[in-house]
């Protein structure tokens, strides 16, 4: 994973903090364990000391652990809040989406992602978005729970039937980012992948217009074929 959005930058920092805290725990426990076992073997002639702890030492250890947990909690809240901050559109972004984020609807369905753009165009599998623009992805599902997961651009979120789950993010760099679904959704779950293509605002507008036109053309052709009796 390499972050390409303000949200994932914050998540990346929090992941590092979490990793350090976890590494501290693992090293502290296992080093203490190893040293204690090494030092107190009966084969080295140790004699058991029948001592028990007083309340003082337990209180001190408990207090230290509480401080550690509280510190990690505070850092967790701070960086989660930063990661949740709705990004604003940048200079290079889509001009019409400066004030409000650009809304795109993402529908999870067994086993494909469908994206509906504001002008009526839609696309399957591949989402095209403008760079440096705040995007509001409205995640919905028509069947079971799916999880939209493009790790380079945003944290993963669930699309649950009957709910709209908003995911706001901004892609800082142009490029193609791969993603997948992260909740078991049936047979072809592993193949239910997706791809986000981040392009310049001009390329984005051209894409949605062409896409809408092509969909209209295809629609008219199908209607024509049926009306002319060429397709039963």
């Amino acid at each position: 994973m390499s972050p390409h959005s303000p949200g994932t930058d914050q998540i990346d920092t929090l992941l590092l903090i979490g990793f350090i805290a976890a590494a501290l725990v693992v090293v502290a426990v296992n080093a203490a364990l190893f040293a204690t076992v090494r030092r107190n073997r009966r084969s080295r002639g140790a004699q058991p000391r029948q001592d028990r702890g007083g309340p003082g030492v337990q209180f001190r250890v408990g207090a230290a652990l509480t401080v550690f947990a509280a510190l990690v909690f505070v850092l967790g809240v701070v960086f989660t809040d930063k990661a949740r901050e709705a990004p604003s559109g940048g200079e290079a972004g889509l001009a019409s989406a400066k004030a409000d984020p650009l809304k795109i609807e993402a529908t999870g369905q067994q086993w494909l992602w469908r994206y509906d753009y504001a002008n009526g165009a839609f696309s399957y599998y591949k989402l095209v978005i403008p760079v440096d623009t705040a995007i509001e992805l409205d995640l919905i599902s028509t069947d079971v729970v799916h999880t939209w997961d493009v790790p380079d651009l945003a944290g993963k979120l669930d699309a649950v039937p009957g709910k709209v789950h908003e995911l706001v993010f901004r892609a800082d760099d142009e490029g193609t980012f791969e993603g997948d679904s992260a909740t078991l959704s049936g047979q072809s779950y592993a193949a239910m992948r997706t791809e986000v293509e981040v392009v310049s605002p001009e390329a984005y507008e051209e894409f949605v217009e062409t896409q809408a036109d092509e969909i209209d053309t295809a629609q008219e052709r199908v209607v024509g074929l049926i009306e002319n009796g060429e397709v039963p």
Binding site: R41, R49, F73, G76, T80, R84, V145, K163
Partner: protein, 560 residues
Amino acid sequence: MSGPRPELVVDGFPKRGRPRWIELATSADHKDLGRILITGGLGFLFVALVELLLMRLQLAIPENSFLTPVAFNRMLSMYGGTAVFYFAIPLVLGLFYYVGPLQVGARGTALPRLGQVGVALWVAGATVLYAGFLFTPSEAGVNPLAPLTELAFLSNNGVDAWATSTGLATLGFVFVAIDLLTTIRNMRAPGMAWRRVPVFAWAAAVGSWLILFVGPVLLAALTMLMIDRNYDGIFFADGSGGAPLLWQHLSWIFFSGAYMLILIFAFAAIAEIVAAFAAKPLYDRGVVMGSLAAVAVIGTLAWMQNMMTAPIGVGWMYFAMLMSLALIVPFGLIVFNLIATMTGGALRMRAPLLFAIGAIGAISVGLAAELEQSLVAAAWQLKNTTDATAATHFALVGGAVFGGFAALHYWFPKMTGRTMGESLARISFWTMSVGLLVAFVPLFLAGSEQGQVVDAYKFFDHTGVNAYNLIATIGAFVLGAGIVMTLVNAILSRENGAEAGHDPWGGDSLEWFALSPPEPHNFDVLPDVRSDRPMRDVRDAIAHRTRSAERPARQSQPVA
């Protein structure tokens, strides 16, 4: 350490003329029922292992076609159900059920027939699951999330078989928990106040309370699921007032409770073993007992840690994170007290202690990784990746397999009268340790670096996880080989192990006062319990009287 046995014995207890298996199948004795749960649990450990290895084979190379997608999902569902409901919980509960009443000096349990019904329900549940396996198993995964489980999406009977099976097993666990809790509350030996109850028996009481709280929650959810599927219910269906998220809340409450149950069991068993093998009292019993109870409460309250990507308010996620991080305090205190117990002890590095130390190490890695995943925004990246799989497996293989094997090696002499082979145990331990690391450390990396998702029947060549998965598959086979060694060791040692006597380890609690294996009524007589180390008191008294007896003027008298 078999000195003179300080108790009166009724020799030649009248044997009834029925075959052993009929005796076992009709027995309401907690020891027989516990042995059914333990033996069955270890058997299902092997089955779960085979299922895991088949899945790992499929995931050894990218875009493999060894298992079809449907076969993989079925294997996954069977693995989850087997590992949780037919290996881990029954092994834990079986050891609690066998050892707990002995430790508190009870001559039986309070409600033996209820326990018998409970174990019978568990056997029935296992039968349903594997009868279902023969025609159509569930395809819905380890925790099958609604609405995938609704009839519209999975119309064959697999989900029904899964729900019936886990429902029967859970009801059985609840019944056993009622019997166990009643026994430990009401049938303790004279003098055994709560502050003198052995840590493992205390954990049995805490674990039983936990099952009494979370078991019915799952039973309610399963009932709703069955109504949805078979009687046009709408509990988890979207629209018409149903709520898919309701299933997630109810099921995760149960699974979080089960997770904590396994860790409570593991740490309590480790505490007994560490104290016995260091020949010391536990550094601070009160703190350990309090921490075990705190883990049960706080850990279960952290159920929404599993729902960090679901559409619930972020406030709830912070609550879940707070509860998860609060667990640092009780777990930290337990580990501190275990290490403090070893400090200044005379450690005998026998198999139970080896597995116990391995369990602490493995659990520490798993829980530390869970710590990272409880940070809300970090969970948005790590949830449902193989990083989470690795964390869960470190904690639960550490708790149920390493911890379970530690307990098995420790109490095996009590159950069979023979110790398990030491050298095979050592080889098994080191093989398992290497296997655990090789199998799951690569999955940590695949999940946190590349975001490889869980439960998928294949992964793709270009995602950069090929090497991780191949190494993980090799590690899983090494881990499996280690586990099989201990299972073989147990089978061989049942008949051929070295004879152990009633107290092979010099334990401090009352189960070592009984015969190995104990008579059906557990004890002929019981010593007065005057401290939290009654067996040490007995040994001291014997030593004292033996010394006194050496002086000619004094007559030795029987202890009791």
